[in-house]
């Protein structure tokens, strides 16, 4: 490979883009040795199209194998690697290093509001429990039809946005109401409910709305918009929440 320097659009192949140094400031916590989390810095050389996940891998694979984080797909589709990067919740695999200010260290911490189990790994069970509690499955009555249930493209479009959710928890763990006490269902659960409440085939909207009408349901949302800003799938989370609130107010979907 030649070292031709070109703009990223013209030369996507790794190696064609100049490399640079990045310092990562990682919040480490190993329950087997530490009583308190600690900060650790590493400087690595990275390339133009590299993402924060690549830098984490480089550290794990070349410097300190004990650095622990979750990841799988590496292109923003499985929801494994939500973390707090420079104070904002993002997916490490979708955050390009070149888009961050590199003159100072890039801080990487676990997402907030869920118990840290090790380094960047948090306990996801409460998050999945909240999802489960809003009955996230199609509810219908009567016998199944022999062919598909019909749904117009317009009806399909109503809940399109919230079907994109990859359950990464970036939203829920960026919500100040969720941080302050873990009782609130959190935006993701509301997104999950929205996906069914506004599905014309579903008949369980009443029940889901009733659940979300709870003391720890939608009314706790303070319209902070942190969730919308954090969502790596570009879901308009707050909008979905408001639509659920309106559905509750007017009792119609």
């Amino acid at each position: 490979m030649t070292a031709a320097v070109a703009d990223v659009a013209g030369a996507p192949a790794a190696g064609a883009v100049p490399s640079f140094q990045v310092t990562l400031r990682l919040r480490r916590f190993n329950p087997e040795n530490d009583t308190q989390p600690r900060w650790e810095e590493h400087t690595v050389t990275m390339h133009g199209t590299d993402r924060v996940l690549d830098a984490l891998h480089k550290i794990k694979w070349e410097i300190d194998g004990s650095l622990t984080f979750r990841r799988s797909c590496a292109h923003g589709i499985c929801g494994s690697d939500a973390m707090r990067i420079n104070g904002r919740n993002r997916l490490a695999c979708k955050t390009l290093l070149k888009d961050l200010p590199l003159d100072k260290p890039v801080t990487v911490e676990p997402i907030k509001g869920l118990a840290v189990l090790k380094d960047l790994v948090v306990d996801m069970d409460p998050f999945f429990e909240a999802y489960k509690s809003i009955m996230p499955f199609l509810i219908t009555t009567g016998n199944d039809p022999s062919r598909e249930r019909r749904q117009s493209p317009e009806d399909r479009a109503r809940y399109d946005d919230t079907t994109k959710c990859i359950m990464c928890a970036a939203c829920t763990s960026s919500c100040p109401v969720y941080w302050s006490d873990g009782q609130y269902f959190g935006p993701q659960a509301i997104v999950g409910a929205h996906r069914f409440i506004f599905d014309s085939r579903d008949e369980g909207a009443e029940q889901r709305l009733e659940i979300l009408n709870d003391r720890d349901g939608v009314w706790r949302c303070r319209t902070t918009f942190n969730c919308t800003d954090a969502c790596p799938r570009g879901i308009e989370v707050t909008k979905a929440i408001q639509e659920v609130k309106r559905a509750l107010l007017f009792r119609r979907v």
Binding site: T2, A4, D7, V8, A9, G10, A11, P12, A13, A14, A16, N30, P31, E32, N33, T49, K60, W61, G65, S66, T68, R71, S72, C73, A74, H75, G76, I77, C78, G79, S80, K94, L96, L117, K118, M124, Y131, K132, M135, P136, F137, L138, D144, P145, R147, E148, R149, R150, Q151, S152, P153, R156, Y159, D160, T163, K164, I166, M167, F196, D199
Partner: protein, 583 residues
């Protein structure tokens, strides 16, 4: 150590595993073990669609679908299995719809369908709209929908449990499935799951290669575990290279892009597929397109500063159309390459995508213990399995179909087996081999780094066993693999702890990858012909006289240097006699 007991244990919670769990969970006590949270499984990355001859938008039937599958697979497909899949496709799609999957719709409210590579009407006359889809996140929606149904039915999941061994007990001279051994990531504890039936649904092995559309976690665990326990692996030399991975990164841009009208162009702006496949052009099967692209680059018509990729052109499509049908993949191009697909063509190059081979099974998902006999109580479905519906080259959208059809069949078969079969005894010290494997690596004080070996493996596989192969390159790959295996005996990890020791598990996964790479290369060396995804430059034609047969790879016991012994199995031919593939 903890011991659990279930009727059926399902390993893997991707599409195949959860589809099986829905069936099995309804009938008998079922546990699902998965090394990832279910929604993190790589089925969620599938974009383009799932095909079925619903004939919602144009005339179609399952027989044409069977034919396309057989022909696309270069006649290495077991035709009885392909027929089952094509027939059951229709119900598989309708079932998903009834579970709530939000398919895109036609103006009449039916499930919409679109074109996909290799799917034709009337045996190859023209492309047909057969792929049912939900924008370009069909796999995501399948995974979500199945997960939701599992929640509804309270399926018992063991999340972040790595299955590392499969247990057999001999009863009356026959090996029978006794259970599995799993490692709990959070605690480092070993769990033995005793079960009457076990279903493997652990997905693919793309991480054998460097440039791949597969997740970091797709390390072929299920295949390797079975292989180590003496079970055969079928047709492993057939690996699919998807034409349109983002150049340099391997992230997939679905064939749906071409299904919606995108065109491949070389550096001269030529629509080169017209030369290679005059009828189907850009929608020819993947092996054909991938080879054509690699050939363009080889002959100097590649684009970019290094002339090492071709371009996928969507600029003639309406931005609104792109947003409606292909929102995710266009965002990948923007995020990862900084290319705006509305106005600029996207750099693409083939990327390792799909393992056509795997654990051989019958059409009821029963795993074969040798060329002919099933192993009682063991089932496999999904990418880990080889029912042989994909033959030498899988058609796009046939895999999401495969996981649903055969996942369902596996779940039913395993549950029915468990309902009538007795529990077999666990072998003595069931966990011993797993504990030894883990402790040996963990306790080794000093040694080579896992990442170094893995990178070298992936590089040699990319260089020598990719789209173009030859005796020389394959031999190179094999000797590299042998050297790496020797070095693997000395790897060590830095994390010596118990909790969330991903360092340790990456080392174990590397061991699986090395075994599988060897199987792939040994099979590819032996197959002196070109067929589907396997292209030998030194044998460029298909050879039906000598190679119209499945490769069955066994772990050789002891002194055989290769470590792999090959055997063969005939292809099931029912209706379609092999013919030359023209597209």
């Amino acid at each position: 150590m903890q011991t659990h007991q279930y009727d059926v244990v399902i390993v893997g919670a991707g599409g195949a595993g959860m589809r099986a769990a829905l069936e099995s969970g309804e009938r008998v006590r079922t546990a699902v073990l998965t090394k990832l949270y279910p929604t993190r499984s790589h089925t969620g990355a599938a974009q383009g669609g799932m095909c079925a001859a619903l004939a919602n938008v144009e005339e179609d039937n399952w027989e044409w679908h069977t034919f396309d599958t057989v022909k696309g697979g270069d006649f290495l497909v077991d035709q009885d299995a392909a027929e089952v899949m094509a027939k059951e496709a229709i119900d598989a799609v309708l079932d998903l719809e009834k579970m709530g999957l939000p398919f895109n719709r036609t103006p009449d409210g039916l499930i919409d369908q679109r074109r996909f590579g290799g799917h034709t009407r009337k045996h190859g006359e023209a492309a047909v709209r057969r792929s049912c889809y939900a924008a370009d996140r069909t796999g995501h929606m399948i995974l979500q929908t199945l997960y939701q149904q599992c929640l509804k039915r309270d399926v018992e999941f063991f999340n972040e449990f790595y299955v590392l061994d499969l247990l057999f007990t001999e009863v009356d001279g026959v090996r029978r499935t006794a259970g599995v051994v799993a490692y709990e990531l959070a605690t480092g504890e070993i769990h033995v799951f005793r079960a009457k039936a076990v279903v493997f649904a652990t997905g693919g092995a793309g991480k054998v290669y460097k440039t791949t559309s597969n997740a970091h976690t797709l390390t072929g665990d299920g295949m390797a575990i079975a292989f180590r326990r003496g079970l055969p692996l079928e047709d492993m030399e057939f690996f699919q290279f998807h034409p349109t991975g983002l150049a340099g990164l391997g992230i997939l841009l679905s064939e749906a892009a071409r299904g919606e009208g995108a065109i491949l162009r070389n550096s001269e702006g030529e629509r080169f597929m017209e030369r290679y496949a005059p009828t189907l052009k850009d929608l020819a099967p993947r092996d054909v397109v991938a080879r054509a692209m690699a050939n363009e680059v080889r002959e100097g018509r590649g684009s970019g500063p290094n002339k090492d990729y071709v371009l996928l052109d969507l600029t003639h499509l309406e931005p609104a159309h792109i947003d409606a049908k292909l929102p995710d993949i266009t965002e990948f191009a923007r995020t990862y390459l900084g290319v705006e697909p509305y106005t600029e063509p996207v750099p693409v190059f083939p990327t390792a995508h799909y393992a056509m081979g795997g654990m051989p099974t019958t059409i009821d998902a029963e795993v074969l213990a040798d060329n002919t006999h099933v192993l009682p109580g063991l089932y496999a479905a999904g990418e880990v399995a080889c029912v042989s519906v994909h033959g030498a080259n899988r058609l796009g959208t046939n895999s999401l179909l495969d996981i649903n059809v055969f996942g369902r069949r596996a779940g039913i078969a395993a549950a029915e087996f468990a309902a009538r079969a007795p529990l077999v005894e666990l072998p003595a010290e069931p966990e011993a081999a797993t504990v030894a494997l883990l402790e040996e690596i963990r306790d080794r004080a000093d040694g080579e780094r896992v990442a170094v070996l893995r990178r070298e493996l992936q590089e040699t596989m990319d260089a020598n066993a990719q789209v173009f192969r030859s005796e020389a390159t394959l031999k190179q790959a094999l000797s590299d693999i042998h050297a790496l295996k020797a070095r693997y005996a000395t790897v060590s990890v830095q994390d010596k702890g118990r909790r969330f020791n991903t360092d340790l598990l990456e080392a174990v996964e590397l061991g699986f990858l090395l075994d599988l790479a060897e199987v792939i290369v040994v099979g590819a060396l032996e197959r002196k012909e070109s067929r589907g995804g396997h292209f030998r430059e030194d044998y460029q034609n298909r050879d039906d006289v000598n190679y119209m047969r499945h490769t069955m790879a066994y772990r050789s016991s002891g002194d055989d240097e290769a470590g792999v012994r090959l055997d063969f199995k005939p292809v099931v031919v029912t209706r379609y006699q092999p013919m030359e593939r023209k597209f």
